[in-house]
């Protein structure tokens, strides 16, 4: 059933995100034309047009980032907590499957947004001498890094890349779940549901920052602090990198798990559709 939910989720969100990606790529072509031709002409009209195309490109990039966030929140809100919720929450699927379908689809759109924006920047800068040189230099730097990683730390380099991707995915899910939990709690109230959701979002944010800050202060000079200090002489740089990544992932999993529990509890037990 998760596969079917994903299919319909991609269908519902793709009709918004795919045209936006096309717009970003289209404005990138326009911006490229502007940088290469229009801004260099003595014609004032073409000059203004060139400026406008650059602005359009910047707005499109900003817009696609904003929309990927809006779609993530709006799909959960409209599809599960508004009128469509009567259809969705009575499907023969579990609440867990609903949440995972939303998380996976959001993570995919976030990743695609990054890729498309990167591609758009490449299109915009193609054939422009200075930017081309910068891109070439950046490419060489990446190539050199890759050669070093594969030559000396072949396994570690790959492992670090995998850890980084897992960290991004888990971080993405934890961020989405923070929004979902706030919405699910807010919509368990009988009135002013959205106002409660916003309030709960900030309460959760404040609580997370307070607990995180307190944790750091409380752990200072404790056994853990001394244990970590003791490791500094006995642990290699690469092992420390892996340990840091694993700790970050574990922290994100824990952070997301709290919101996952809250979201499922409120959707299962406290759902109150209008």
């Amino acid at each position: 059933m998760l596969r079917k939910l994903l299919k319909h989720e991609f269908r519902a969100t793709g009709r918004i995100m795919l045209p936006l990606f096309l717009i970003v790529l289209g404005t990138a072509v326009g911006a490229n034309l502007s940088v290469r031709v229009l801004l260099d002409t003595p014609n004032k009209v073409l000059d203004i047009l060139g400026g406008l195309l650059i602005v359009a490109f910047a707005i499109a990039i900003f817009g696609v980032y904003v929309m990927s966030m809006v779609v993530m929140v709006q799909r959960f809100y409209k599809n599960l907590l508004q009128d469509e919720g009567y259809v969705m929450m009575t499907l023969p699927v579990s609440v867990h499957q609903h949440i995972w379908s939303k998380l996976i689809v959001s993570a995919v759109w976030f990743a695609l947004t990054l890729i498309v924006v990167g591609l758009a920047c490449f299109i915009m800068a193609a054939d422009v001498k200075v930017i081309h040189q910068i891109a070439e230099g950046f490419g060489e730097l990446l190539g050199e890094l890759y050669r070093h990683l594969t030559a000396y730390y072949a396994v570690n380099g790959t492992a670090l890349a995998v850890e980084f991707l897992v960290m991004c995915f888990v971080g993405c899910c934890a961020m989405c779940l923070q929004f979902y939990a706030s919405l699910a709690i807010g919509h368990s109230f009988s009135s002013h549901k959205m106002a409660w959701s916003v309030l709960w979002f900030f309460i959760i944010l404040f609580a997370a920052q307070f607990l995180g800050g307190s944790g750091i202060v409380l752990l200072d000079e404790t056994w853990l602090h001394h244990l970590l200090l003791g490791w500094t002489d006995n642990i290699s740089g690469m092992a420390a990198m892996h340990l840091s990544m694993i700790c970050l992932i574990a922290g994100e999993v824990l952070y997301g798990a709290v919101f996952y529990f809250l979201t499922t509890y409120f959707l299962k037990r406290r759902l109150d559709l209008e």
């Binding site: 009128d83 469509e84 009567y86 009575t90 023969p92 579990s94």
Partner: protein, 231 residues
């Protein structure tokens, strides 16, 4: 075994008692009218049967199971409002129902859409309110479910559409299944009902067959309703 069974079922919203120790049973093969004035607890009862709310006290069973994803596969639910995704086309909506419900009869749904001259390519957003309600009813009644829970299926539509909706219900439900129709428009649905449940202020006032009411009370369900719920 009863398709829908409530034992001492209560639901409170804060200090408001929406349902108060409701006991009832709906047997298969019956069309039951869940009748009561506005705010009597009809929608709450139907939402509880769909697992959209959790009981404060008591128990509700659908085919012997507590509401959940297993019972969702057996229940076909028509909410009181248009809840189908408006961005979909009628055809995409049929794909959606076909994907999630094994008992969905696509040929029956396509036939009903064709009968109403609704193109599968037409977006639901572009349809009138009445047409949207008809499309929603079509997908709900195109399932071969064990229990149909229809919340105000004829509220807010013109008399011609009411007739169409009632004939669609009668013409498409599985005779082995039970149909629960919640409404306060008694005279319109009376002709299709086998049993009635009168509900008021969260309590069941009467559960009886329509024939029994006519024989014992010598009046129609509509007349009895007006007498019981006289203001």
């Amino acid at each position: 075994m009863a398709v829908l069974e409530c034992k001492g079922l209560s639901k409170r919203y804060g200090h408001t008692q929406a349902l108060d120790r409701v006991d009832l049973a709906v047997e298969p093969g019956r069309i039951v009218g869940l009748l009561g004035p506005n705010g009597s607890g009809k929608t709450t009862l139907i939402k509880l049967a769909n697992g959209l709310l959790t009981p404060s006290e008591g128990e509700l069973l659908v085919c012997g199971m507590k509401p959940g994803k297993e019972t969702h596969a057996l229940v076909s639910y028509l909410p009181e409002r248009t809840s189908i995704p408006l961005w979909m086309t009628a055809g995409q909506l049929l794909d959606f129902y076909e994907d999630f419900y094994k008992d969905f009869r696509r040929d029956a749904a396509e036939e009903m859409l064709a009968h109403l001259n609704i193109s599968p390519k037409q977006r639901i957003k572009q349809m009138s309110k009445g047409t949207r309600e008809k499309v929603q009813l079509i997908v709900v009644m195109s399932r071969a479910a064990k229990l149909y829970l229809l919340d105000e299926p004829i509220g807010g539509v013109d008399p011609a559409t009411r007739d169409y909706i009632l004939s669609t219900i009668i013409g498409n439900y599985d005779p082995e299944a039970a149909v629960v129709i919640s409404t306060h428009l008694i005279s319109d649905v009376e002709k299709v009902l086998d049993d009635v449940i009168f509900i008021n202020q969260g309590r069941v006032m009467l559960q009886s067959s329509v024939d029994q009411i006519r024989e014992e009370k010598g009046m129609s369900v509509d007349e009895l309703f007006r007498e019981v719920f006289k203001c």
